[in-house]
Symmetry: D2
Subunit: 388 residues, 4 copies
């Protein structure tokens, strides 16, 4: 079995989750290729060395370009903030490296288009590109798509999707990079709104064609993070200890889908008490499905074709060996967690590379999400219905 040598950029939250996936994937799945955790890149020398040791990477570097330039790296895994995605991904693809890029694909539609072009060119040479909308790989979500594709819901009429978090409700929470437009691109909209847009398009097999919405920033000024403050010196820090929040705290919109369904969406980091509350419900003429990421092993299915007195939403525990991805894990009823989606993603990517097929979601799929995000921002600005 061949070895696929991974080079990863970034070692924060996403870097840790991806490491767990690379470390685990060949231990639980039979795959045509085996991942090797070869090289990790990060800007801070001491930190990247510590991360390499702790997470189990063979080598480390402070320059991501090393991943591109070295011959012994086969795949570049991009786990940095969105402002550097385009540059790294395009360079890697040009150098013939497969690319796995965290979502959102880029901070602007323009960058995303360039990345799609780079992926198209690379594909012709057998080089693969994939965007990391990991929640597609939660088994209940994959199963949801299957049931809809099998026609179990009939014609779709409604989608309602929310992604509710509350980690910045406190006005004293600092101005981290995710609250700065130049680094993060947008706020709740791009960070978590992107997930529910992708999931909607994934499970329904339809695309969002138009939107109308609003965005809001409830807390417009926040303390600078201690690192930034420290850099300024104590006196200066006291003076200028606050900075402007340049992204949205919340984004809400209604939408139409290509197959005739209508939808509501809400993404916010201000929903006090909701920790990772991604919920999606789809209603069709023959049934409905509902999912909640805070109970990710469960799927609610209403099958309207059953006898009338017996109708109800049923809580399917998506832990049977026949459910998507579950063959690798534990007996029926034994739960999996958040990180398993990354292992499933790694599995699908290794299989695609091993078999010479294109992994999904493609960069083009991710651009599709970006275009919706862009339309929402425009609609929020103009107050008008906006075609995607």
């Amino acid at each position: 079995m061949g070895e696929l040598r991974i080079g990863m950029v970034g070692y924060a939250f996403m870097g840790e989750a991806h490491s767990q996936a690379w470390r685990t994937v060949n231990r639980v799945y039979d795959l045509p290729v085996r991942a090797r955790m070869s090289l990790i890149a990060g800007r801070d020398k001491a930190n990247v060395a510590a991360a390499a040791d702790r997470l189990g990477w063979d080598e480390h570097t402070t320059d991501w370009r090393d991943l591109i330039n070295r011959d012994d790296i086969d795949l570049v895994d991009i786990c940095t903030p969105g402002d550097s995605h385009a540059e790294i991904a395009c360079a890697a693809l040009a150098a013939g490296k497969h690319v796995l890029c965290e979502k959102p694909l880029a901070n602007t539609v323009e960058e995303a288009r360039a990345m799609v072009a780079a992926a198209d060119t690379a594909r012709e040479r057998g080089v693969r590109a994939m965007c990391g909308f990991t929640y597609r790989r939660v088994p209940a979500v994959t199963f949801m798509r299957q049931l809809i594709a099998d026609g179990r819901l009939g014609d779709l009429r409604h989608v309602r999707a929310v992604y509710l978090q509350d980690w910045i409700t406190d006005p004293e929470f600092p101005l981290v990079w995710r609250l700065q437009k130049d680094k993060a691109g947008s706020g709740a909209l791009g960070d978590i709104g992107a997930h529910i847009i992708d999931m909607t398009q994934f499970v329904t097999g339809q695309s969002i064609t138009g939107v109308s919405g609003l965005t809001e920033t409830f807390v417009r000024e926040r303390p600078l993070p201690s690192a930034d403050g420290a850099a300024l010196g104590a006196a200066k820090a006291a003076e200028t200890s606050k900075g402007q929040v340049t992204v949205d705290d919340a984004a809400l919109f209604v939408a139409r889908l290509s197959g005739g369904a209508v939808a509501t969406f809400e993404a916010t980091r201000m929903a006090t008490g909701r920790k990772n509350g991604l919920r999606i419900e789809v209603n069709g003429t023959k049934g409905s499905l509902a999912f909640d990421l805070e109970r990710l092993n469960e799927l609610e299915f209403y099958d309207a074709t059953l006898p009338g007195t017996e109708l109800g939403f049923r809580r399917i525990l998506v832990t049977e060996p026949e459910h998507p991805y579950l063959s690798a894990w534990w007996p029926t009823g034994h739960l999996i967690g958040y990180e398993h989606g990354f292992t499933h993603q790694a599995r699908d990517l290794l299989e695609a590379i091993g078999n010479g097929t294109d992994p999904l979601p493609s960069f083009a799929d991710a651009l599709g999400v970006q275009l919706v995000l862009d339309a929402v921002e425009k609609s929020a600005g103009s107050g008008s219905w906006t075609q995607v």
Copy 2:
């Protein structure tokens, strides 16, 4: 104790619910005045006679004007479709009768304004008018308002409210009056959307200032109800057995509230599997509250001021004697049902009349709902943000 002689118009769903309330209210509450079920009006002679006998009204009539003209009627209770509300209510108020009018107050803003004017004039003479947004009287909803008014949620940031039903998902469901614009005014928007608009304004104490949304009619043609078909004669009926649906099946919109919160709303009769799914959640800086009408004895409360490791939504069973309206009912943990809201409404109305105060919601409150409905329709037509 004085007697308040009730005259009611209509004996369908709402007429039955109101009858249950008048029959019960003085049996469970101590009130300054006792309701007497005096006279019921309905157009069909046999049906109204049967209804009077079954529901327990002293007398019956086929002409609602009898309720206005007779001296021995003190209050007119209007349980008809929205197209007749304005005429009956204005006549009753002019005749010095107290009025309880089912929601929505009227089918148009113009009618609603006339009713508010009539109520204002009547009030000067001690005549009372109330609109029947009964869900305000679900104890969990009343308690929700109390907690918010007491500042337990801090500053409000989010409302998300849906009212999901599924009784017309089948395209063969007939074209009943609720699907005809001339009788019902609007579809899901006015029928059930009105409830979540009123409830939002009630529990938050804020008003909706602007909206942007869409409406959709998924099934545009439906079989005529058998009664209408029969009237046409068999041959004609076969030809013209279908009629146009002239109202919306679903309405979705985003909104801003006067206190700075943002909100999403959805009202639909096409949410397969959701039977009476009115749900509302409010998030504030200090906590959150969530309510679901399909579990109407429960209220979920997240109090963010508790210690960090112990935070969570707690399911309050709103059945304690200290909870609103509950002193009348059963021991702790013994549930009440849908109809109890009508008894609570009757209690508040009898108390207001007995004490010479104005009952709520007033016709002006109900006009406030009407103005939001109107703005949603306009926004759905223009595709633009619309001020209320």
Copy 3:
């Protein structure tokens, strides 16, 4: 239509619930006979007069024997504590009055046997007797029985039933009659354990054949109720302000059923946070059913004959017009409450009397429950398996 003149003994909790049923039943169901609330009996003259006025009874008396002696009473409805059931019921039946007797049927097996004999004799003369295990008439419970009787669960293997309340967790809660063996017969066992025993035998169609269990009284001494205290005079009350609790606070047992299933039971008033937590789950070879009285409009059904990846407990909202008793009430999804069970009981009783058939549960069914209670007490005393 004939009139059935009711005489009721008792006007506390059960008296109020029964009054609500008699007041409502003919307003919502078409029945062969109409209930008239004729005469209410209670020992305290002022209180019974006030109750008659408030609850809507034609007349009142301080002597329950008046109900027996008067010719214009057709049915005696017994809502007193268990120690008086046998005397009143036997006298009423002997006088040719139909009897509805609250559960538990009696405080001792001996009394219960006498009542069964009286009912048997009366039946021959067309006089009917029924015991008020109202929870059989919760639509979800009746539907549960239907599904099991239809074979939808296959062979039954497990029952687990609990009835959890918490109203006496506070040691300062007074020594009310329900905590005194001479009045109440037993504690949690007879009061709420009786309900889960009857419900188990009702839904499974099987009888409990043997038990092994324990009982516990956590708080053995409690303050005397203020009324009793007051009677003693202030000084004396201070001295002797506490009395012995002579019943169990909790009863727990395992059991075998006649059809081969095994079962666990728990009845307690010390389950902090559980207000009216009657829960029952039945597992069979083909499926399972679960019910919770705190969500009495819902029934959970697991149908193991569906495809493997789609299995799950489904939440049936038991509010369809085709569900038991629901034809009388509100549209789909509109909840009913605790008191509706009493109206359903009144319906079934009026139908039986009108049609000349025997209502269920019979006194013999109720004796069956009593025998199980007796076996549990014996087992708790001896520490041994006890046949029923």
Copy 4:
């Protein structure tokens, strides 16, 4: 940092779960010692070789005695059926190897006592022994213990614990080793009943002092597993294709705890629809806690000291960094799964070994569970209350 060289016996379900833990533990926790997956033992040469390759062990052997005899193994991890635990554990401890032994500790009390003695002797030489009741390491369970130890529930009055599975409901499910008394010791009682006994004693800090119960085997004959059948040859297999089930399918009992609480327990593999339904609820004078393994990231807490109208069970999402074990994992609201308990167990064991302290649960704790299992079996046989 020192290395701890692990030798593991067994590569089935438990072997895979333990491998995942050893592979992960030092990647997510900072620990005084690093685990090395050195040597895996299993009887079948090809299978153990494949397991070593797939799971990532350095070497493999077909003889578990190699783990004892080799100097370069520091810890023996026993993942075999219960009938071999005592022999392996005692040999390993005698050879100065630390031991982690899967639950139940042994198949008989006698063996368990011998193991405790071996552990006591070994402890004096600094050799550590631990039994693998992993569910103690589910963060919600650990947190439950903390809250109870902190007095948040007051005096404990009730425990109700069930472990419900359904994987052998089908009578055609084969006679695997877990259904054979000589290999498994007992059935549902020892396999899953052991978990709820240990969890009860762990979270309450009390011990079970007496029990009364029953056991049942619903399906007494089952097809032999294909491997066994194949060994017999086709003709013979057809004749003797069924074998006796020699263990219980279900065990139910009531119990008393050392601190005065009473409890019900049920362990079954016949609860159709319940996949891994370990549920435990504890009620005390000041509050209650409830946990369900099918929702293992959640804990329900009822704090009776809050104001009366606001009381309710609150769903704590046990995913905060301040919750037990959670510092290692993902942000708030991101779930963990079944396998994480094994990583937590590995963490605690490595910390104990590194710090020279005794890990919990000790072999003596596990013997305590065994004694309760034994008392239940005796009570089921005699029909009498049995002291532990």
